[in-house]
């Protein structure tokens, strides 16, 4: 030692810090690192959890958290790289199994490592906002194994291959598939979507494009739909078995697009098996399948609905415009009802009661029912038929059902006022002839009409019922005040309010003396109890029951019309009468008389008179005698009047004209109502509003509306604007 060295003597600074092993951190980390290795080598049984936990805790406590964290990442990365190589080396079918095995191992190891590093996870990572151990482990697996270039595409191809195999009918290991897709899901939604789902959907799309092309060339529509449905359930099944539930919507939309949307038109219009064919043959199952499949794609149902609508309209048009088919009104309406029932059933069983389809059905019916101008008449006739005889022996509920169905057709009518006219006529006939089967049914129909069209529509119909009721009371009163009338003929009078009933010209006739005496008595009784009224006799509407004794003493009661009674009564006084004589004595108008004689003399089995010469038609020169040989096994004989059930051409014209006439004030009222609130309106708008307001009753004709406007202008309700001639002004 030299002196020079001593000169550099220094006092060492006092060390405040406690000296710790400078290699402390490295040593501790080495212990942990070794443990991680052991865990990955499945040799963890010898490890002390407590020791490792304490070491990790100490590292964090001594501010070596960063070292611990990066160390854990590096070690795990190295291990995963090794695993990736092992997986890659696996050949053929064992590739997936190896991957799955390694993935399970990694998960187990990660769990253990997380437990050891729990303190770091909770404190160091929390405060430094780094990725926690478990998600970090997943990220490392993703980056080093799944995204490893030699594994990435191979894995995807293997998976897609398996799916393809299963689609072609082979059996695959679904459990393995589930594990692998589960791995993708665990790695995060984006990994599942990018690395598996997207390519899977693309491959599926390609597959179904080819397959659907094949099917459509070789199958009919029903079979194709069956196959498409099967494929769809298969895919849903696949998702449930080994894919993420969120994929269901995506894969089904692929199948829907490729198998249905792209071939929609072709399927629907397929010859001999398309939609029209299914509808015609009531193929509920196929229709239901089509509905369920087409519902899944945009515009699918619209397509089905459009085809159904056009088919319905075409079919309906034929039905209502075919002159053959409209010969019998009852059958005509029955056919409409059947058609509606058929489609109702299709919609309810196959189309799931879809509202839009119901609307399409309704609009189609509305369209074609109104193509035939006589539909209102026919519907009324149908009701008439049902209420006359058709409802006998049918329960109350069935009556309701039938009436409801008819009301459905009624709803489609645009010209409801025409229907009203006819209905009134038919109802009048039913009521007066006492032929209505059920009062309840009649009333229930009136109630239905009322709910459909309002009070106004049915007030007159109800008035008719009231008249019938009051007449009964009046008759009781009449006979009560004239007890002497119990002998001799019985007169039953129905007093009808003018206006409530369809107006018919009063046809006068000379009543037999016995009857006219009674009539006079009733007239004085009635006018005595009601002041300020006028009675006129509607003899053309009446009926009579007369007793007759024929040549060999056969006794019969004849049910005849008033006219017929007048004619028959003449034969009480003479055996033979010529047409001229009868006409003179009764003063019945000749057309009515002819009809009346025809029914008395020319109807087989009911010919109480004999005509000379024998022929079908009544001539002016004919003469009549009582048919003494008249026989009938019944005591009561009903002699009908030969009358066309359907209207004759002139009658039809007349009804039509009356309807038109009735519409005029309604149109005018509507115009005035609208103008009163609007004050000023242009021509087009007024037409639109009037049409809209009258729609529930009938479809107003624009030219008619225009005529009504002109008439109103003439009568100073409206005026044209001085500058703009298209504008109308309301004049208060």
């Amino acid at each position: 030692m030299s002196n020079q060295k001593k000169r550099n003597f220094q006092i060492e600074a006092f060390k405040h810090r406690v000296v710790v092993d400078p290699k402390y951190a490295d040593k501790t980390w080495q212990i942990l690192e070794r443990a991680i290795h052991q865990i990955y080598n499945q040799d963890a049984s010898g490890l002390s959890f407590e020791e490792l936990y304490r070491n990790a805790y100490n590292m964090v406590l001594h501010k070596f958290g960063e070292k611990l964290y990066t160390g854990f990442i590096t070690t795990m990365t190295a291990h995963l790289r090794e695993k990736a190589k092992l997986i890659e080396a696996a050949q053929g079918g064992s590739f997936l199994e190896e991957l799955n095995k390694k993935w399970t191992e990694h998960n187990k190891a990660l769990e253990m490592i997380r437990d050891i590093l729990m303190y770091m996870d909770r404190t160091y990572i929390e405060s430094t906002k780094k990725t926690h151990v478990h998600p970090m482990g997943l990220n490392l697996w993703r980056d080093n194994v799944v995204h490893f270039t030699k594994i990435h595409t191979r894995l995807l191809n293997t998976l897609l291959d398996l799916v393809q195999k299963e689609r072609t009918g082979e059996v695959i290991d679904r459990g393995l598939m589930r594990n692998v897709t589960k791995m993708f899901m665990d790695l995060g939604e984006s990994v599942y979507q990018d690395d598996f789902e997207k390519p899977f959907l693309e491959a599926s799309s390609e597959f179904y494009k080819v397959e659907s092309q094949e099917f459509i060339e070789s199958c009919d529509c029903g079979d194709y739909l069956k196959k498409a449905e099967k494929r769809l359930t298969e895919e849903i099944d696949r998702v449930a078995n080994y894919l993420d539930a969120k994929s269901e919507e995506k894969i089904t939309s692929v199948v829907e697009r490729e198998m249905i949307a792209n071939h929609m038109q072709r399927l629907v219009h397929m010859e001999n098996s398309g939609l029209v064919n299914m509808l015609l043959n009531d193929k509920y199952e196929d229709l239901g399948r089509m509905y369920n499949l087409f519902r899944r794609v945009t515009n699918g149902l619209v397509t089905v609905r459009d085809v159904m609508t056009s088919h319905l309209r075409e079919m309906g048009k034929q039905l209502v415009t075919d002159p053959e088919k409209s010969k019998d009104p009852v059958e005509f309406v029955q056919r409409l009802l059947d058609e509606r029932d058929k489609y109702d059933k299709i919609i309810s069983t196959a189309f799931g009661n879809d509202k839009t389809f119901q609307n399409a059905l309704n609009s189609s019916f509305e369209y074609f029912i109104n193509l035939n101008a006589r539909s209102p008449e026919f519907i009324s006739l149908f009701i008439d038929d049902k209420l006359r005889k058709g409802l006998k022996g049918i329960g109350e509920e069935d009556v309701e059902v039938i009436l409801d169905k008819v009301m459905m057709l009624f709803r489609y009518l645009q010209e409801k006022d025409v229907f009203e006219k006819y209905y009134k006529q038919h109802l009048a006939k039913r009521l007066l002839s006492g032929k209505t089967v059920s009062d309840d049914a009649e009333r229930s129909l009136i109630v239905k009409l009322k709910t459909e069209c309002g009070y106004q529509f049915t007030s007159k119909l109800e008035g008719m019922f009231t008249d019938m009721k009051t007449s009964e009371d009046t008759m009781r009163g009449f006979y009560g005040s004239h007890p002497e009338l119990s002998e001799g003929p019985t007169l039953i009078v129905q007093v009808l309010t003018t206006g409530s009933w369809p107006t018919q010209p009063a046809v006068p006739c000379n009543l037999p003396a016995e009857v006219s005496v009674l009539c006079e008595k009733f007239r004085s009784y009635y006018l005595g109890t009601h002041t300020g009224r006028r009675l006129s006799w509607q003899t053309n509407m009446g009926t009579a029951d007369i007793k007759a004794v024929f040549g060999k003493g056969q006794k019969h009661e004849l049910n005849v019309s008033t006219f017929q009674m007048c004619v028959l009564m003449l034969f009480n006084n003479s055996d033979r009468l010529s047409y001229k004589e009868i006409e003179q004595a009764t003063e019945i108008p000749s057309s009515d008389l002819k009809r009346c004689l025809q029914s008395l003399a020319c109807v087989k089995g009911k010919n109480v008179l004999k005509k000379e010469p024998m022929s079908k038609d009544i001539g002016e020169e004919d003469s009549f005698v009582v048919n003494d040989k008249f026989t009938c096994k019944f005591y009561k004989v009903k002699i009908g009047t030969v009358v066309a059930q359907k209207e004759t051409e002139p009658e039809k014209q007349e009804t039509r004209q009356r309807v038109e006439e009735d519409r005029k004030p309604q149109i005018e009222a509507a115009i005035v109502r609208i103008m009163k609130s609007r004050k000023v309106l242009d021509h087009n708008n007024i037409i639109a509003e009037v049409t809209k307001q009258l729609q529930p009753r009938f479809l107003a004709n624009p030219t008619e509306i225009k005529k009504r406007i002109e008439s109103l202008i003439e009568r100073d309700f409206l005026e044209r604007d001085n500058t703009d001639r298209k504008l109308y002004r309301y004049l208060a």
């Binding site: 959890f49 407590e50 304490r54 050891i116 729990m118 303190y119 404190t123 405060s127």
Partner: protein
């Protein structure tokens, strides 16, 4: 009966403990003990005991906590030691929940008194959502966690702090005065654990960023921050920011003759979807209380004492709090008289309760203004060195919390099932807690 199979032995720092797996399962997954279980919560006990190199005394306390849910700390164990050990085992949350019970103003006990080092008078104290608190003194805010360990203090350019508030357990908003012409001050978002400034909120008027002084704060459940603001060129009003983006989303300008930008108190009313803004004497010569609806930028209700005749004993409103359940606003004057204003009537007057305690005679030298708080149907009012608790529909006085040390209470706050009261004379605050529920 045989010996149950789920027994497990621990050797902790040389002392033997024996327990069962069901007891250990109470520790939960994210704990030292949770890691001993497998995925199905089965414990495969090792042949011999598990050695843990930790303090056995604390282990005994924590094991008892897992067994009973009760925390009983012997006097010879310092709290800090116990907390450290609980942190090792991952049982800190267990300790916290066992330490005090659900809040009830009538059962409060003084839990702790914390003396600080900050000079000057305290400005505000705010309870955090999980039992911590922050205390503002001058320009610095001290943050304490539920263990009452102090974290890094926070400041905004060392400007005078006007108000602070907790957005959640990790985020604190601080509002401060501006410094002339520097753009300092305003409002900032801080991390409660590290004290870092995370975000600085800006105010812009007509697309120009302006410096401003931020005052009273309030938050609402759909992630909005409200603050009263005073700008340079009379841009007074209430600013609104989004908690997630940090961007200013709205500004309610104060109208002439009214006061919003100087407010003492903001309170968000969830049911009414309105913000209560109260500016009170002596910040302004008059008191203004208003409810603002931000959806249609409307002042839907307002009250002021402008023009009302001075009462004999000069009752001036010193604090206000809206009580949505009873559709009224409770106010308090400097004599701790409670008054009520009906929210359903526009332009109603204060109905002072008759329970006036004439304390004029013995006012302390340095009076603190009374403050109000509402918590689950209990009304709290601070006056001088005590806090009164009122309950029931008629707000009957039911309890009074008082500690002689530290002088008047200048602010208090309830949150995280604790009540914090800050005293003005000495830098000390008290922590009041409800003891855990009784055993039976």
């Amino acid at each position: 009966m045989g010996i149950s199979k789920d027994r497990i032995k621990f050797n902790v720092g040389g002392r033997l403990f024996e327990t069962t797996s069901t007891t250990l399962a109470n520790a939960g997954r994210d704990s030292f003990f949770g890691a001993l279980f497998d995925d199905e919560w089965n414990l495969s006990p090792p042949e011999k005991d598990i050695f843990v190199d930790r303090n056995p005394d604390c282990f005994a306390v924590l094991l008892d906590l897992l067994r009973t849910g009760d925390l009983n700390v012997p006097t010879n164990i310092p709290e800090r030691l116990l907390h450290r050990e609980a942190s090792f085992y991952g049982l800190l949350d267990h300790v916290r929940t066992a330490k005090w019970g659900p809040f009830d103003g009538n059962r409060l006990r003084l839990g702790d008194s914390v003396k600080g080092i900050a000079p000057g008078d305290g400005t505000a104290i705010r309870a955090g959502p999980d039992g911590g608190c922050c205390v503002a003194h001058g320009s610095v805010v001290h943050v304490l966690d539920w263990m009452l360990e102090e974290h890094c203090p926070i400041n905004l350019d060392y400007q005078r702090v006007n108000d602070v508030g907790w957005i959640d357990s990790d985020n604190i908003v601080l509002s401060a005065c501006e410094r002339l012409g520097r753009g300092d001050g305003g409002m900032g978002l801080f991390s409660s654990s590290s004290g870092d400034l995370r975000y600085k909120f800006q105010v812009s008027h007509e697309n120009q960023v302006k410096s401003y002084t931020a005052g009273a704060l309030s938050f609402c459940p759909d992630y909005k921050i409200f603050a009263s603001c005073k700008g340079r060129s009379n841009e007074y009003g209430i600013g609104v920011w989004d908690q997630i983006t940090g961007k200013q989303t709205d500004f309610f300008y104060e109208s002439p003759g009214w006061s919003l930008g100087d407010a003492d108190k903001l309170q968000w009313l969830n049911g009414k979807n309105c913000l209560l803004v109260a500016t009170l004497f002596p910040r302004k010569d008059n008191c203004y209380i208003s409810l603002l609806d931000f959806r249609d930028k409307n002042m839907v209700w307002s009250w002021s004492d402008i023009g009302s005749p001075m009462a004999i004993d000069e009752k001036r409103v010193r604090d206000a709090i809206a009580m949505e359940d009873s559709n009224s606003i409770c106010v308090v004057n400097e004599f701790e008289d409670l008054g009520f204003i009906d929210l359903r009537m526009y332009g109603g007057s204060v109905r002072w309760s008759s329970r006036s305690r004439l304390m004029k005679s013995k006012m302390p030298d340095e009076p603190c203004y009374p403050k109000l708080a509402l918590h689950e149907g209990q009304l709290f009012s601070s006056m001088n060195d005590s806090i009164s608790v009122f309950c029931g529909p008629d707000w009957v006085l039911t309890s009074r919390l008082r500690r002689s040390y530290g002088g008047s209470i200048c602010d208090f706050s309830i949150g995280g099932d604790r009540l914090f009261a800050l005293h003005s004379e000495e830098n000390v605050f008290d922590v009041w807690e409800t003891p855990p529920p009784p055993i039976i």
